[in-house]
Protein backbone atom coordinates (compact mmCIF):
# COMPACT_ATOMS: atom_id res chain seq x y z
CA UNK A 1 0.00 0.00 0.00
CA UNK A 2 1.14 3.44 -0.79
CA UNK A 3 -0.27 5.16 2.18
CA UNK A 4 2.86 5.69 4.13
CA UNK A 5 2.96 9.10 2.81
CA UNK A 6 5.86 11.42 2.53
CA UNK A 7 6.66 13.24 5.64
CA UNK A 8 5.34 16.67 5.06
CA UNK A 9 5.03 19.31 7.72
CA UNK A 10 1.31 18.87 7.58
CA UNK A 11 1.35 15.18 8.18
CA UNK A 12 2.04 15.72 11.83
CA UNK A 13 -1.14 17.65 12.12
CA UNK A 14 -3.04 15.18 10.08
CA UNK A 15 -1.92 12.32 12.21
CA UNK A 16 -2.09 13.86 15.60
CA UNK A 17 -4.96 16.19 15.28
CA UNK A 18 -7.21 15.78 12.38
CA UNK A 19 -7.74 12.13 13.03
CA UNK A 20 -9.21 13.14 16.31
CA UNK A 21 -11.21 15.79 14.71
CA UNK A 22 -14.88 15.49 14.62
CA UNK A 23 -15.47 16.94 11.23
CA UNK A 24 -19.20 16.72 11.08
CA UNK A 25 -20.00 20.28 12.03
CA UNK A 26 -17.51 21.61 9.56
CA UNK A 27 -18.62 19.18 6.94
CA UNK A 28 -22.26 19.95 7.44
CA UNK A 29 -21.68 23.55 6.65
CA UNK A 30 -19.51 23.03 3.65
CA UNK A 31 -21.74 20.37 2.24
CA UNK A 32 -24.50 22.86 2.44
CA UNK A 33 -22.44 25.28 0.42
CA UNK A 34 -21.81 22.63 -2.09
CA UNK A 35 -25.34 21.56 -2.72
CA UNK A 36 -27.07 24.86 -2.45
CA UNK A 37 -24.57 27.50 -3.31
CA UNK A 38 -27.08 30.30 -3.06
CA UNK A 39 -29.41 29.11 -0.38
CA UNK A 40 -28.01 30.13 2.94
CA UNK A 41 -28.14 33.83 3.72
CA UNK A 42 -27.59 34.70 0.09
CA UNK A 43 -24.42 32.71 0.19
CA UNK A 44 -22.19 34.21 -2.45
CA UNK A 45 -21.36 32.29 -5.56
CA UNK A 46 -17.79 32.67 -4.48
CA UNK A 47 -17.90 29.64 -2.31
CA UNK A 48 -16.13 26.58 -3.51
CA UNK A 49 -17.17 23.29 -1.98
CA UNK A 50 -14.31 23.43 0.42
CA UNK A 51 -15.08 26.88 1.66
CA UNK A 52 -16.55 28.32 4.70
CA UNK A 53 -14.89 26.48 7.51
CA UNK A 54 -11.57 25.66 8.91
CA UNK A 55 -9.85 24.41 11.98
CA UNK A 56 -8.74 26.92 14.47
CA UNK A 57 -6.59 26.44 17.45
CA UNK A 58 -4.24 28.07 19.80
CA UNK A 59 -1.07 29.52 18.50
CA UNK A 60 2.06 27.96 19.63
CA UNK A 61 4.87 30.30 19.29
CA UNK A 62 7.38 29.27 16.76
CA UNK A 63 9.71 32.16 16.39
CA UNK A 64 11.09 31.85 12.95
CA UNK A 65 12.07 28.79 11.07
CA UNK A 66 15.37 28.23 12.78
CA UNK A 67 14.69 28.74 16.43
CA UNK A 68 13.51 25.64 18.12
CA UNK A 69 13.60 26.55 21.74
CA UNK A 70 10.00 27.63 22.17
CA UNK A 71 8.58 24.66 20.51
CA UNK A 72 6.57 22.30 22.59
CA UNK A 73 5.80 18.63 22.81
CA UNK A 74 6.50 17.93 19.18
CA UNK A 75 9.77 19.73 18.84
CA UNK A 76 11.67 16.68 17.76
CA UNK A 77 9.22 15.94 15.03
CA UNK A 78 9.24 19.53 13.94
CA UNK A 79 12.96 19.61 13.85
CA UNK A 80 13.12 16.45 11.85
CA UNK A 81 10.51 17.64 9.43
CA UNK A 82 12.17 20.94 8.92
CA UNK A 83 15.38 19.10 8.18
CA UNK A 84 13.52 16.96 5.67
CA UNK A 85 12.08 20.05 4.07
CA UNK A 86 15.47 21.68 3.78
CA UNK A 87 16.90 18.51 2.37
CA UNK A 88 14.06 18.28 -0.13
CA UNK A 89 14.63 21.80 -1.34
CA UNK A 90 18.09 20.84 -2.54
CA UNK A 91 16.59 18.57 -5.17
CA UNK A 92 15.07 20.30 -8.18
CA UNK A 93 11.34 19.79 -8.67
CA UNK A 94 12.26 17.43 -11.48
CA UNK A 95 15.76 16.03 -11.71
CA UNK A 96 17.90 14.86 -14.58
CA UNK A 97 17.50 11.46 -16.11
CA UNK A 98 19.89 9.17 -14.28
CA UNK A 99 20.92 5.65 -15.19
CA UNK A 100 19.39 3.08 -12.88
CA UNK A 101 22.84 2.48 -11.45
CA UNK A 102 22.36 5.75 -9.58
CA UNK A 103 19.74 3.94 -7.57
CA UNK A 104 22.11 1.09 -6.88
CA UNK A 105 24.66 3.50 -5.55
CA UNK A 106 22.08 4.83 -3.14
CA UNK A 107 21.60 1.44 -1.55
CA UNK A 108 25.09 0.13 -1.85
CA UNK A 109 25.51 -0.70 1.78
CA UNK A 110 21.88 -1.41 2.29
CA UNK A 111 19.40 -4.17 2.68
CA UNK A 112 20.05 -7.28 0.56
CA UNK A 113 16.41 -7.53 -0.47
CA UNK A 114 16.46 -3.99 -1.80
CA UNK A 115 19.73 -4.57 -3.59
CA UNK A 116 18.34 -7.63 -5.29
CA UNK A 117 15.16 -5.81 -6.22
CA UNK A 118 17.12 -2.99 -7.76
CA UNK A 119 19.03 -5.54 -9.79
CA UNK A 120 15.74 -7.03 -10.99
CA UNK A 121 14.45 -3.56 -11.74
CA UNK A 122 17.48 -3.03 -13.93
CA UNK A 123 16.36 -5.86 -16.18
CA UNK A 124 13.29 -3.93 -17.20
CA UNK A 125 14.15 -0.33 -16.59
CA UNK A 126 17.07 1.70 -17.83
CA UNK A 127 16.79 5.00 -16.05
CA UNK A 128 15.03 7.02 -13.44
CA UNK A 129 14.29 10.66 -12.93
CA UNK A 130 13.96 11.92 -9.40
CA UNK A 131 11.49 14.47 -8.19
CA UNK A 132 11.56 16.64 -5.11
CA UNK A 133 10.06 15.10 -2.01
CA UNK A 134 7.88 18.04 -1.17
CA UNK A 135 4.55 16.30 -0.93
CA UNK A 136 3.81 16.95 -4.59
CA UNK A 137 6.09 14.29 -6.01
CA UNK A 138 3.34 12.05 -7.35
CA UNK A 139 1.69 14.84 -9.31
CA UNK A 140 5.01 16.30 -10.34
CA UNK A 141 6.28 12.94 -11.58
CA UNK A 142 3.09 12.35 -13.46
CA UNK A 143 3.21 15.82 -14.96
CA UNK A 144 6.68 15.37 -16.35
CA UNK A 145 6.25 11.78 -17.46
CA UNK A 146 3.02 12.57 -19.26
CA UNK A 147 4.21 15.71 -20.99
CA UNK A 148 7.47 14.04 -21.93
CA UNK A 149 5.54 11.16 -23.44
CA UNK A 150 3.55 13.55 -25.61
CA UNK A 151 6.68 15.47 -26.50
CA UNK A 152 8.37 12.31 -27.70
CA UNK A 153 5.45 10.53 -29.38
CA UNK A 154 3.52 13.57 -30.69
CA UNK A 155 0.48 11.38 -30.22
CA UNK A 156 -2.29 13.60 -31.56
CA UNK A 157 -5.03 11.12 -30.70
CA UNK A 158 -3.95 11.06 -27.09
CA UNK A 159 -3.83 14.84 -26.93
CA UNK A 160 -7.30 15.03 -28.40
CA UNK A 161 -8.52 12.43 -25.94
CA UNK A 162 -7.10 14.09 -22.87
CA UNK A 163 -8.31 17.48 -24.03
CA UNK A 164 -11.84 16.09 -23.98
CA UNK A 165 -11.22 14.73 -20.50
CA UNK A 166 -9.93 18.07 -19.30
CA UNK A 167 -13.07 19.73 -20.56
CA UNK A 168 -15.09 17.18 -18.61
CA UNK A 169 -13.05 17.92 -15.50
CA UNK A 170 -13.80 21.59 -15.91
CA UNK A 171 -17.51 20.83 -16.13
CA UNK A 172 -17.23 18.64 -13.05
CA UNK A 173 -15.79 21.48 -11.01
CA UNK A 174 -18.39 23.82 -12.39
CA UNK A 175 -21.23 21.54 -11.45
CA UNK A 176 -19.77 21.03 -7.98
CA UNK A 177 -20.04 24.75 -7.43
CA UNK A 178 -16.42 25.80 -7.78
CA UNK A 179 -15.97 29.39 -8.85
CA UNK A 180 -14.44 29.44 -12.29
CA UNK A 181 -11.66 31.88 -11.52
CA UNK A 182 -10.33 29.63 -8.78
CA UNK A 183 -9.38 26.91 -11.25
CA UNK A 184 -9.25 28.38 -14.75
CA UNK A 185 -5.65 29.63 -14.57
CA UNK A 186 -4.48 26.17 -13.57
CA UNK A 187 -6.39 24.54 -16.40
CA UNK A 188 -5.06 27.08 -18.88
CA UNK A 189 -1.45 26.55 -17.86
CA UNK A 190 -1.78 22.80 -18.21
CA UNK A 191 -3.34 23.16 -21.65
CA UNK A 192 -0.57 25.54 -22.68
CA UNK A 193 2.05 23.00 -21.71
CA UNK A 194 0.19 20.28 -23.56
CA UNK A 195 0.00 22.34 -26.72
CA UNK A 196 3.66 23.31 -26.47
CA UNK A 197 4.97 19.77 -26.08
CA UNK A 198 2.83 18.77 -29.04
CA UNK A 199 4.34 21.44 -31.23
CA UNK A 200 7.69 23.03 -30.58
CA UNK A 201 8.90 22.38 -27.06
CA UNK A 202 12.24 20.67 -26.59
CA UNK A 203 12.96 18.28 -23.77
CA UNK A 204 15.31 20.86 -22.27
CA UNK A 205 12.57 23.42 -22.33
CA UNK A 206 10.14 20.99 -20.72
CA UNK A 207 12.66 20.31 -18.00
CA UNK A 208 13.24 23.98 -17.39
CA UNK A 209 9.50 24.68 -17.22
CA UNK A 210 9.06 21.76 -14.86
CA UNK A 211 11.62 23.37 -12.59
CA UNK A 212 10.02 26.79 -12.82
CA UNK A 213 7.81 27.15 -9.78
CA UNK A 214 5.34 29.39 -11.55
CA UNK A 215 4.61 26.76 -14.17
CA UNK A 216 5.35 23.56 -12.31
CA UNK A 217 3.26 24.33 -9.25
CA UNK A 218 0.37 25.50 -11.40
CA UNK A 219 0.32 22.21 -13.25
CA UNK A 220 0.53 20.30 -9.96
CA UNK A 221 -2.39 22.33 -8.69
CA UNK A 222 -4.28 21.58 -11.89
CA UNK A 223 -3.98 17.88 -11.06
CA UNK A 224 -5.12 18.57 -7.52
CA UNK A 225 -8.25 20.26 -8.83
CA UNK A 226 -8.90 17.40 -11.21
CA UNK A 227 -8.41 14.85 -8.42
CA UNK A 228 -10.58 16.69 -5.96
CA UNK A 229 -13.33 17.15 -8.52
CA UNK A 230 -13.36 13.44 -9.35
CA UNK A 231 -13.45 12.41 -5.68
CA UNK A 232 -16.30 14.79 -4.91
CA UNK A 233 -18.22 13.82 -8.02
CA UNK A 234 -18.03 10.17 -7.03
CA UNK A 235 -18.20 10.78 -3.32
CA UNK A 236 -20.22 7.64 -2.69
CA UNK A 237 -17.61 5.51 -4.37
CA UNK A 238 -14.65 7.08 -2.60
CA UNK A 239 -16.26 7.54 0.80
CA UNK A 240 -15.40 4.11 2.25
CA UNK A 241 -11.76 4.37 1.11
CA UNK A 242 -11.42 7.78 2.62
CA UNK A 243 -13.12 6.76 5.84
CA UNK A 244 -10.68 3.87 6.12
CA UNK A 245 -7.74 6.10 5.46
CA UNK A 246 -8.36 9.18 7.51
CA UNK A 247 -11.67 8.85 9.28
CA UNK A 248 -12.84 12.09 7.74
CA UNK A 249 -15.62 13.01 5.37
CA UNK A 250 -15.05 13.20 1.62
CA UNK A 251 -15.40 16.95 1.78
CA UNK A 252 -12.92 17.31 4.59
CA UNK A 253 -10.51 14.95 2.85
CA UNK A 254 -10.55 16.97 -0.36
CA UNK A 255 -10.19 20.17 1.54
CA UNK A 256 -7.31 19.08 3.73
CA UNK A 257 -5.54 16.31 1.81
CA UNK A 258 -6.09 16.97 -1.88
CA UNK A 259 -6.44 20.67 -2.57
CA UNK A 260 -3.61 22.16 -0.50
CA UNK A 261 -0.17 21.98 -2.10
CA UNK A 262 2.28 19.67 -0.40
CA UNK A 263 -0.29 17.11 0.66
CA UNK A 264 1.02 13.78 -0.46
CA UNK A 265 -0.88 11.30 -2.59
CA UNK A 266 -2.45 8.07 -1.57
CA UNK A 267 -4.14 5.39 -3.64
CA UNK A 268 -7.35 7.37 -3.47
CA UNK A 269 -5.75 10.33 -5.21
CA UNK A 270 -4.16 8.15 -7.86
CA UNK A 271 -7.35 6.28 -8.65
CA UNK A 272 -9.29 9.52 -8.88
CA UNK A 273 -6.76 11.25 -11.09
CA UNK A 274 -6.24 8.35 -13.46
CA UNK A 275 -10.00 7.94 -13.78
CA UNK A 276 -10.59 11.63 -14.33
CA UNK A 277 -7.95 11.96 -17.03
CA UNK A 278 -8.21 8.43 -18.40
CA UNK A 279 -4.48 7.85 -18.20
CA UNK A 280 -3.03 4.59 -16.90
CA UNK A 281 -0.09 4.56 -14.54
CA UNK A 282 2.13 1.70 -13.50
CA UNK A 283 3.54 2.03 -10.01
CA UNK A 284 6.53 -0.15 -9.24
CA UNK A 285 7.09 -0.77 -5.57
CA UNK A 286 10.56 -0.81 -4.19
CA UNK A 287 10.26 -1.94 -0.62
CA UNK A 288 11.58 -4.65 1.65
CA UNK A 289 8.65 -6.96 1.21
CA UNK A 290 9.41 -10.43 -0.03
CA UNK A 291 7.41 -13.57 -0.42
CA UNK A 292 8.41 -16.81 1.23
CA UNK A 293 8.40 -18.82 -1.94
CA UNK A 294 11.96 -17.94 -2.53
CA UNK A 295 12.05 -15.99 -5.72
CA UNK A 296 12.12 -12.31 -5.20
CA UNK A 297 10.04 -10.14 -7.46
CA UNK A 298 9.47 -6.45 -7.81
CA UNK A 299 5.77 -5.83 -7.41
CA UNK A 300 3.85 -3.35 -9.43
CA UNK A 301 0.32 -2.17 -9.66
CA UNK A 302 -1.33 -0.74 -12.73
CA UNK A 303 -3.84 1.99 -12.16
CA UNK A 304 -6.13 1.56 -15.11
CA UNK A 305 -8.93 4.07 -15.43
CA UNK A 306 -12.42 2.74 -15.31
CA UNK A 307 -13.87 2.47 -18.78
CA UNK A 308 -15.34 5.66 -20.19
CA UNK A 309 -17.95 5.87 -17.48
CA UNK A 310 -16.68 7.55 -14.40
CA UNK A 311 -18.78 5.46 -12.11
CA UNK A 312 -17.95 1.93 -11.18
CA UNK A 313 -15.33 -0.12 -9.54
CA UNK A 314 -11.76 0.95 -9.36
CA UNK A 315 -8.96 -0.15 -11.56
CA UNK A 316 -6.88 -3.18 -11.03
CA UNK A 317 -3.93 -4.79 -12.65
CA UNK A 318 -5.98 -7.92 -13.08
CA UNK A 319 -8.30 -6.16 -15.47
CA UNK A 320 -9.05 -7.84 -18.75
CA UNK A 321 -6.38 -8.38 -21.31
CA UNK A 322 -7.11 -5.89 -24.04
CA UNK A 323 -5.80 -2.97 -22.04
CA UNK A 324 -2.49 -1.65 -23.20
CA UNK A 325 0.37 -1.29 -20.77
CA UNK A 326 0.59 2.09 -19.11
CA UNK A 327 3.08 4.35 -20.80
CA UNK A 328 3.84 6.04 -17.50
CA UNK A 329 5.80 4.17 -14.88
CA UNK A 330 6.54 5.59 -11.48
CA UNK A 331 8.83 4.15 -8.89
CA UNK A 332 7.39 4.13 -5.40
CA UNK A 333 9.58 3.94 -2.37
CA UNK A 334 7.72 4.32 0.90
CA UNK A 335 6.92 8.00 0.98
CA UNK A 336 8.10 8.99 -2.46
CA UNK A 337 7.50 8.74 -6.21
CA UNK A 338 10.04 9.10 -9.00
CA UNK A 339 9.83 8.44 -12.73
CA UNK A 340 11.08 5.19 -14.28
CA UNK A 341 12.12 4.63 -17.88
CA UNK A 342 11.78 1.29 -19.61
CA UNK A 343 14.61 -0.37 -21.41
Amino acid sequence: MANQAEVSPRKRKAVEDELEMEASSVAAMTTMNMNQPAAEESEPILSNPSDGAGTSGSAEIWPGEYEWSCCFRDDEIMQQQSAIREEAAKVPYVGDKDPLSALEAEFESGDPILKEKIRLLGEQYAALRRTRGDGNCFFRSFMFAYLEHILVTKDADEVERITRKVIQCRLTLQSLGYTEFTYEDFFNIFMEQLESVMTSMSIEELLSRSRDQCISDYVVMFFRFVTSGEIRKRAEFFEPFIAGLTNTSVDQFCKSSVEPMGEECDHVHIIAMTDALGVSIRVVYLDRSSCDKGELAVNHHDFIPTAASSVGSSSSSSASGNITEPFITLLYRPGHYDILYRR
Binding site: M21, S50, G57, A59, I61, G64, T182
Partner: protein
Protein backbone atom coordinates in the same frame (compact mmCIF):
# COMPACT_ATOMS: atom_id res chain seq x y z
CA UNK B 1 -3.32 51.77 12.54
CA UNK B 2 -2.41 48.41 11.29
CA UNK B 3 -1.78 45.39 13.39
CA UNK B 4 1.28 44.20 11.60
CA UNK B 5 4.01 46.07 9.93
CA UNK B 6 3.50 46.16 6.23
CA UNK B 7 6.03 43.61 5.09
CA UNK B 8 8.14 44.89 2.29
CA UNK B 9 6.63 42.56 -0.19
CA UNK B 10 7.12 42.08 -3.84
CA UNK B 11 4.52 43.30 -6.25
CA UNK B 12 1.90 40.85 -7.38
CA UNK B 13 2.87 38.59 -10.23
CA UNK B 14 0.88 39.04 -13.39
CA UNK B 15 -1.15 35.92 -12.82
CA UNK B 16 -1.80 36.93 -9.20
CA UNK B 17 -2.92 40.33 -10.34
CA UNK B 18 -5.35 38.86 -12.85
CA UNK B 19 -6.75 36.46 -10.33
CA UNK B 20 -7.24 39.20 -7.74
CA UNK B 21 -8.97 41.43 -10.21
CA UNK B 22 -11.39 38.61 -10.94
CA UNK B 23 -11.95 38.10 -7.23
CA UNK B 24 -12.62 41.76 -6.76
CA UNK B 25 -15.17 41.87 -9.57
CA UNK B 26 -16.87 38.79 -8.19
CA UNK B 27 -16.87 40.30 -4.72
CA UNK B 28 -18.48 43.46 -6.02
CA UNK B 29 -21.23 41.45 -7.67
CA UNK B 30 -21.77 39.21 -4.70
CA UNK B 31 -19.92 39.89 -1.46
CA UNK B 32 -20.24 37.44 1.43
CA UNK B 33 -23.24 38.47 3.52
CA UNK B 34 -22.33 41.10 6.08
CA UNK B 35 -18.92 41.94 4.60
CA UNK B 36 -17.87 45.17 2.97
CA UNK B 37 -14.68 45.76 1.05
CA UNK B 38 -13.47 49.29 1.64
CA UNK B 39 -12.50 50.64 -1.72
CA UNK B 40 -8.91 51.68 -2.10
CA UNK B 41 -6.66 51.78 -5.11
CA UNK B 42 -4.45 49.12 -3.59
CA UNK B 43 -5.25 45.73 -5.06
CA UNK B 44 -2.61 44.08 -2.91
CA UNK B 45 -4.15 45.10 0.41
CA UNK B 46 -7.83 44.78 1.07
CA UNK B 47 -9.51 46.25 4.11
CA UNK B 48 -12.72 44.42 4.85
CA UNK B 49 -15.32 45.48 7.36
CA UNK B 50 -17.95 43.19 8.78
CA UNK B 51 -20.53 42.94 11.49
CA UNK B 52 -20.81 39.98 13.84
CA UNK B 53 -23.70 37.69 13.01
CA UNK B 54 -26.91 38.27 14.90
CA UNK B 55 -27.63 35.78 17.63
CA UNK B 56 -23.92 35.34 18.38
CA UNK B 57 -21.61 36.82 21.00
CA UNK B 58 -20.38 39.31 18.43
CA UNK B 59 -23.73 40.52 17.17
CA UNK B 60 -23.70 44.09 15.95
CA UNK B 61 -20.01 44.51 16.65
CA UNK B 62 -18.00 45.84 13.73
CA UNK B 63 -14.54 44.57 12.93
CA UNK B 64 -11.96 45.16 10.24
CA UNK B 65 -9.78 42.62 8.51
CA UNK B 66 -6.62 43.47 6.66
CA UNK B 67 -5.80 41.12 3.83
CA UNK B 68 -2.35 41.33 2.22
CA UNK B 69 -1.65 39.35 -0.90
CA UNK B 70 1.76 37.87 -1.61
CA UNK B 71 3.51 37.95 -4.95
CA UNK B 72 2.46 34.39 -5.71
CA UNK B 73 -1.16 34.53 -4.64
CA UNK B 74 -3.11 32.23 -4.81
CA UNK B 75 -0.34 29.63 -4.64
CA UNK B 76 0.55 31.26 -1.34
CA UNK B 77 -2.04 32.22 1.24
CA UNK B 78 -2.86 35.85 1.82
CA UNK B 79 -1.94 37.28 5.20
CA UNK B 80 -5.12 37.99 7.11
CA UNK B 81 -5.24 39.86 10.42
CA UNK B 82 -7.75 41.87 12.36
CA UNK B 83 -7.02 45.54 12.61
CA UNK B 84 -7.16 46.16 16.39
CA UNK B 85 -9.34 46.20 18.31
CA UNK B 86 -9.67 42.54 17.41
CA UNK B 87 -12.66 40.55 18.65
CA UNK B 88 -12.23 38.78 21.98
CA UNK B 89 -11.97 35.18 20.92
CA UNK B 90 -9.98 32.16 22.14
CA UNK B 91 -8.16 31.97 18.80
CA UNK B 92 -7.66 35.64 18.04
CA UNK B 93 -4.72 37.44 19.58
CA UNK B 94 -4.94 41.02 20.71
CA UNK B 95 -2.59 42.10 17.94
CA UNK B 96 -5.11 40.80 15.44
CA UNK B 97 -3.40 37.54 14.50
CA UNK B 98 -5.81 34.71 13.84
CA UNK B 99 -5.16 31.05 14.48
CA UNK B 100 -7.08 29.37 11.68
CA UNK B 101 -5.62 26.56 9.60
CA UNK B 102 -6.83 27.71 6.21
CA UNK B 103 -4.77 30.88 6.57
CA UNK B 104 -1.61 28.84 6.81
CA UNK B 105 -0.96 25.13 6.17
CA UNK B 106 -4.38 24.26 4.87
CA UNK B 107 -4.63 27.12 2.44
CA UNK B 108 -5.42 26.09 -1.09
CA UNK B 109 -5.79 28.08 -4.30
CA UNK B 110 -9.33 26.71 -4.42
CA UNK B 111 -10.14 29.17 -1.65
CA UNK B 112 -10.85 32.86 -2.02
CA UNK B 113 -10.96 36.00 0.08
CA UNK B 114 -14.65 35.46 0.28
CA UNK B 115 -14.28 31.94 1.62
CA UNK B 116 -11.80 33.19 4.22
CA UNK B 117 -14.33 35.75 5.36
CA UNK B 118 -16.99 33.09 5.71
CA UNK B 119 -14.61 30.93 7.73
CA UNK B 120 -13.70 33.75 10.06
CA UNK B 121 -17.33 34.67 10.60
CA UNK B 122 -18.11 31.03 11.27
CA UNK B 123 -15.25 30.86 13.74
CA UNK B 124 -16.63 33.86 15.60
CA UNK B 125 -20.19 32.64 15.46
CA UNK B 126 -19.40 29.32 17.07
CA UNK B 127 -17.55 30.89 19.98
CA UNK B 128 -19.11 30.38 23.40
CA UNK B 129 -16.94 32.73 25.38
CA UNK B 130 -15.34 36.05 24.76
CA UNK B 131 -11.77 35.65 25.84
CA UNK B 132 -8.24 35.88 24.58
CA UNK B 133 -6.07 32.83 23.93
CA UNK B 134 -4.36 31.64 27.10
CA UNK B 135 -0.93 32.45 25.69
CA UNK B 136 -1.88 35.87 24.38
CA UNK B 137 0.70 37.87 26.33
CA UNK B 138 3.55 35.57 25.51
CA UNK B 139 2.61 35.58 21.85
CA UNK B 140 2.25 39.34 21.63
CA UNK B 141 5.63 39.78 23.25
CA UNK B 142 7.11 37.53 20.62
CA UNK B 143 5.52 39.48 17.81
CA UNK B 144 6.69 42.85 19.00
CA UNK B 145 9.02 43.48 16.13
CA UNK B 146 6.20 43.27 13.66
CA UNK B 147 6.37 39.64 12.77
CA UNK B 148 3.87 38.31 10.29
CA UNK B 149 1.45 35.65 11.55
CA UNK B 150 2.57 33.56 8.60
CA UNK B 151 5.89 33.12 10.38
CA UNK B 152 4.20 31.63 13.38
CA UNK B 153 4.15 27.89 13.74
CA UNK B 154 0.49 27.42 14.51
CA UNK B 155 -0.92 24.49 16.30
CA UNK B 156 -4.44 23.68 15.17
CA UNK B 157 -6.35 21.48 17.49
CA UNK B 158 -9.77 22.86 17.92
CA UNK B 159 -12.48 22.45 15.36
CA UNK B 160 -15.24 23.72 17.57
CA UNK B 161 -14.51 27.40 17.85
Amino acid sequence: MTSSSAPSRKALSKIACNRLQKELVEWQVSPPAGFKHKITDNLQRWIIEFVGASGTLYAEETYQLQVDFPEHYPMEAPQVVFIPPAPLHPHIYSNGHICLDILYDSWSPAMTVSSICISILSMLSSSTEKQRPADNDRYIKNCRNGRSPKETRWWFHDDKV
